[in-house]
Amino acid sequence: MAKGVWIIAEQRDGALRKISFELASAARKLADQLGDEVGAILLGSGVENLAAQLGKYGVDKVFVGDSPALEPYITEAHAAAAAKIIKENSPAIVLLGASVQGKDLAARLAGKLATGLATDCTDVKIADGKLVAIRPMYAGKCFGEVVTSASPQMASLRPNVFAMAENAKAAAVTKFDPAIDAASIKSKVLEVQKDTSGKVDLTEANVIVAGGRGMKGPEGFQILEELAEVLKGCVGASRAAVDAGWKLQKDQVGQTGKVVSPNLYIACGISGAIQHLAGMSSSKYIVAINKDAEAPIFTKADYGVVDDLFKVVPELTSACKKLVG
């Protein structure tokens, strides 16, 4: 019988990513309901020392696959290693992050294990001893409760949605041989070009200040940078602003950009087209600043200001500065 709730931890450059702790915390809750253990797969080269950190968030056992072939991340190598240890232990549930890497690995692995996968879930629960994965569909216009009949039941969880909860466990380490056949690896990472801005990715940001066509031009974004600086957040953009060349593609929020879930999303000069809402409506709090009282963004906003953003945003920056120091 398949037993246990497992996660596949995500690390980069020898550090666990935040999503790994979100996964561990979510897995712990599910495992407690089932009376099961939480297992974690940790893959990379020289990563064994990271196992203890997973224990802090409720992981009982860590299965470490260590090999130079697992660094940097290559789909075929990671999928092969994860599939091997999963087949040997048959966990009932396997959770990954819906990060770029997590989504890439999850779908390949589900294919390898001939099982089902629910992508980018915003909630997970147990009903009748099985995982029920709740996920937005049609760009968040409805939600589906997904049940997988095959084993393991797999789901990838949207970053920034699941709370991290400390819950110290032993995190007993088992090393396994990932047994990667070098000949089966057809891809090679030639270059990694790091973003030097020092900012986290939009998908991992707690605060996003986003601008649209109402910013009038690339210079307009400067006032958003200043507000983001005070709130320790990142600047995002609508497609109109990206297509105009004011911001980069990586900054685009929406159906053909990124799906984000910050605690706070401040939309400035963005009308709130349905394709934009698709990317940000799972934000916890939404502020809209727009001079058009009829703009659809106000239907999603917790706090709306109908006024000229060029007047409001600098005032908001100084008001926030006073409060957050």
């Binding site: 990060s99 779908a107 294919g111 569909m137 760009a139 216009k141 891809s187 709306g304 200001v305 957050v324």
Partner: protein, 256 residues
């Protein structure tokens, strides 16, 4: 070069989605159907590869009879031929079944590169590309924004959180497209006329010899959680409104 582009027909992004009262799915009567926007990037890239390197572009789609329109759209953009897998047994196909059907079709033809969208905007699952690659036993490169064909391999740019990767992969492989890869062309009028005469092979599930038993089921479809009604912040001066927003974010929402 033998290039394959997988396309799915999906509701237009503007479509209102209404959940059926019994939660068994969505009302699909009033929907306008279009090519998945990410597949437009895939088809465009396929056409550019062919224009530069010669060869043929084949469109493959799994879907009901209406999906033929989307295949014709891709043919009108310039693709050469199509395969339409159409079978009521596939109405509840999940990613695994869809990938199995695509793999069964593609196994029977020559291929160097397969383009998919990074995700379909109806199920938003982003699984079919990687599953297809797995079932064919070939590598995958997902979420690609730049693709270069070298003769025997492809080099791509793949943005990840906080970095851009440059990756090289041997052919054949599956590439999934996202915005930034190219600007998809529109079908021209002569293109639309020509597309009517291009061959489309229609197949059913039995001809492919695949299992149509889905691994996942959407047990219940529910409307999105309602957001509590928002507050419009009143005041005479921008400074006053800004101060009130800051106060609410601090004291009520507790997010700053």
């Amino acid at each position: 070069m033998n290039i394959i582009a997988c396309v799915k027909q999906v509701p237009d992004t503007e479509a209102q989605i209404k959940v059926k009262a019994d939660g068994s799915g969505i009302e699909d009567g009033q929907i306008k159907w279009v090519m998945n926007p990410y597949d437009e990037y895939g088809v465009e890239e396929a056409l550019r590869l062919k224009e530069k390197n010669g060869g043929e572009v084949t469109i493959v789609s799994v879907g009901p009879a209406r999906a033929m329109e989307t295949i014709r759209t891709a043919l009108a953009m310039g693709a050469d031929k199509g395969v339409h897998v159409s079978d009521p047994a596939l109405d509840n196909a999940d990613a695994y079944v869809t990938a199995s059907a695509l793999a069964a079709v593609i196994k029977g033809m020559p291929y160097d590169i397969i383009l998919c969208g990074q995700r379909a905007i109806d199920d938003d699952s982003g699984q079919v590309g990687p599953m297809l690659a797995e079932l064919l036993g070939i590598p995958q490169l997902t979420l690609v924004t730049k693709l270069e064909f070298t003769g025997s391999s492809v080099k791509v740019i793949r943005p990840i959180e906080g970095a851009q990767l440059s990756i090289e992969t041997a052919l054949p492989c599956v590439v999934t497209a996202q915005k930034g890869l190219n600007e998809p062309r529109y079908a021209s009028l002569p293109g639309i006329m020509k597309a009517k005469k291009k061959p489309v092979d229609v197949k059913n599930a039995a001809a492919l010899g695949i299992s149509t038993d889905a691994k996942t089921k959407v047990a219940k479809t529910i409307p999105p959680p309602a957001r509590p009604p928002g507050k419009i912040i009143c005041g005479d001066e921008p400074a006053q409104k800004a101060a009130e927003v800051a106060r609410l974010l601090r004291e009520e929402a507790k997010v700053i």
